[in-house]
């Protein structure tokens, strides 16, 4: 059940890819690749939706990528009220796949779609229990 440490709020403590959270805690960003058809997945998946194989392997990601889009949330849902306004970005990863994360310490005016950013693993220190995420930095 280690996946429950992933995210400020976590809705899915159980998953076949729970090793992702263990790796993130050790400062590594991991995706998966299907050994049968070589389709790559970020976020990681345990089952390949292309060839239906469940024979997958883990691969490490650099976290580098280009900003695909972003927004700044002013009206927050439950669990995020204390953070508003917060900026969310979607990153097209260099090694394939995408991720969505908070933009860390870059003013919204400086964000440009297409700019290079890096997803970096982070332990949320302001929360008492162990919580790990990744954030987007320059």
């Amino acid at each position: 059940m280690t996946f429950k440490i992933f995210g400020k709020v976590n809705f899915t403590p159980y998953t076949k890819v729970e090793k992702f959270a263990d790796a993130l805690r050790e400062d590594k960003l991991m995706g998966t690749r299907c050994k049968e058809c070589e389709e790559i997945y970020f976020p990681p998946r345990a089952d390949c939706s292309k060839c239906m194989s469940s024979d997958m392997e883990w691969r490490e990601y650099s976290g580098k990528g280009k900003l695909a889009t972003f927004t700044t949330i002013h009206a927050a849902p439950t669990g995020f009220e204390d953070m508003v306004p917060y900026t969310i970005g979607v990153l097209d990863l260099k090694e394939g796949g995408r991720l969505l994360a908070w933009v860390d310490n870059i003013p919204q005016e400086e964000l440009k779609i297409g700019m290079e950013l890096k997803a970096v693993p982070q332990i949320m220190e302001e929360i008492e229990e162990l919580r790990v995420v990744y954030v987007l930095r320059k």
């Binding site: 976590n10 927004t71 979607v90 991720l99």
Partner: protein, 382 residues
């Protein structure tokens, strides 16, 4: 075998603190029976379109069918988030086409405002993929804001274009006595409203509402017996797309809408230029601009120009959301798709009053579920 619409009903949308969900459903159902001039025993089944997570009452189809006096005929629920109403229409359409039922009542019904604000905020936090996206506090406006930013970047769409959609839909909503907001707004007011999710402001977002709408569908033979002014469903099409925006091939279009409309045009044997009037899913202003393009009314990337030129206004190429759209009517999730169809029937019958498109022959509805994981496109003809 054709499927016709023989009766329509539409309740008042808004904050309905005065009714339960079954009482809300009763209003348009009774109106549709009177419109069709049939007895309820002539109806073979009741299909309810609704999103169940908003209701305190569980299993609402059972409660509604009982309240309408529609036992022992079959009833069930269809769910496709904000497109639940259109999912109900398609289900009824298929049942009739397949010869299982002759006459089916479709009820789109939703009470959204019986939940407390904290309950709504908790639901709002789970609209995306909860494993990889909701953990960062994504919201409905947030997703459409991300589409908007990318659309602006790729095609030069401007905040003014978004606000023009809001101004148009409020202008027409003022002509619709069933709408939540019946008041025109200025461009300045829209552009200065508070920020919800950059670049979307308050007036770029539709409002939650309670509401219900009803259609009575019948097979070709029964339709001709029941009414002299039938409206026919000439296409019922739908498609899906990845729920997660991390697995979408594009962020400026809804692939489900492109595919559903392609199927719908083929099924009806018409082109986008043949459409006389349309209701599209303007949950956010950018959604209407994307719809112009996804439905082929405007070229890809030219949605902003389309609203700027007034092509989606009465007198333009394809008047869109002349009933006020979700923006003005309010968006009672399950009722919305049925409400759109009711408007098309009114337009094609020539009963739309001040917002009538003269001589409208072909109407189209575009109803999106969630952030685009489902889209239903229906085409109607006389």
């Amino acid at each position: 075998m054709k499927v016709g619409i023989v009766g329509i009903g539409h309740g008042r949308f808004g904050r309905r603190d005065d009714v339960t969900v079954q009482e809300l459903a009763f209003e348009p159902f009774k109106e549709a029976l009177e419109d069709a001039e049939i007895q309820k025993r002539e109806i073979d089944a009741t299909v309810i379109g609704s999103s169940p997570e908003y209701h305190k009452q569980r299993s609402i189809s059972g409660v509604i069918a009982e309240y309408l006096g529609m036992n022992p005929q079959p009833t069930w629920l269809t769910e496709a988030a904000c497109a639940s109403g259109s999912a109900a229409i398609r289900t009824a359409f298929g049942m009739i086409k397949g010869g299982i039922h002759d006459v089916v009542a479709v009820l789109g019904v939703q009470k959204m405002l019986e939940l407390s604000t904290p309950e709504i905020l908790a639901l709002m936090g789970r609209v995306g993929d909860v494993q990889w996206e909701s953990i960062f506090g994504t919201t409905f406006p947030g997703y459409y804001a991300m589409y908007a930013n990318r659309h602006m970047h790729d095609y030069g769409t401007k905040p003014e274009h978004l606000s023009m959609v809001a101004v148009k839909n409020h202008e027409y909503g003022a002509l619709n006595p069933k709408a939540l907001f019946q008041k025109a707004i200025t461009l300045e007011k829209a552009m200065k409203s508070e920020m919800v999710a950059y670049p979307l402001r308050l007036y770029d977002c539709c409002a939650n509402a309670d509401g219900a709408a009803c259609l009575i569908l019948a097979n070709e033979e029964k339709t001709k017996k029941i009414t002299d002014t039938p409206v026919w469903i000439s296409a019922s099409a739908t498609a899906s797309a990845p729920m997660s925006i991390l697995r979408r091939e594009t962020l400026t279009s809804l692939p489900s809408a492109v595919e559903a409309s392609r199927q719908a045009y083929k099924m009806a044997g018409v082109e986008p230029t043949d459409i006389d009037v349309a209701d599209v899913h303007d949950c956010f202003t950018i959604a209407e601009i994307m719809a112009y393009e996804d439905l082929g009314f405007a070229e890809k990337g030219k949605g902003g120009k389309y609203i700027e030129e007034g092509q989606s206004k009465i007198g333009g190429k394809v008047p869109v959301n002349v009933d006020g759209g979700l923006k003005s009517k309010g968006h009672p999730v399950g009722a919305t798709g049925v409400s759109m169809a009711v408007e098309m029937v009114k337009q094609l019958r020539g009963e739309a009053g001040k917002r009538q498109i003269n001589g409208a022959e072909i109407g189209l509805t575009h109803n999106v579920g969630g952030i685009g994981q489902y889209c239903f496109v229906h085409i109607f003809g006389r």
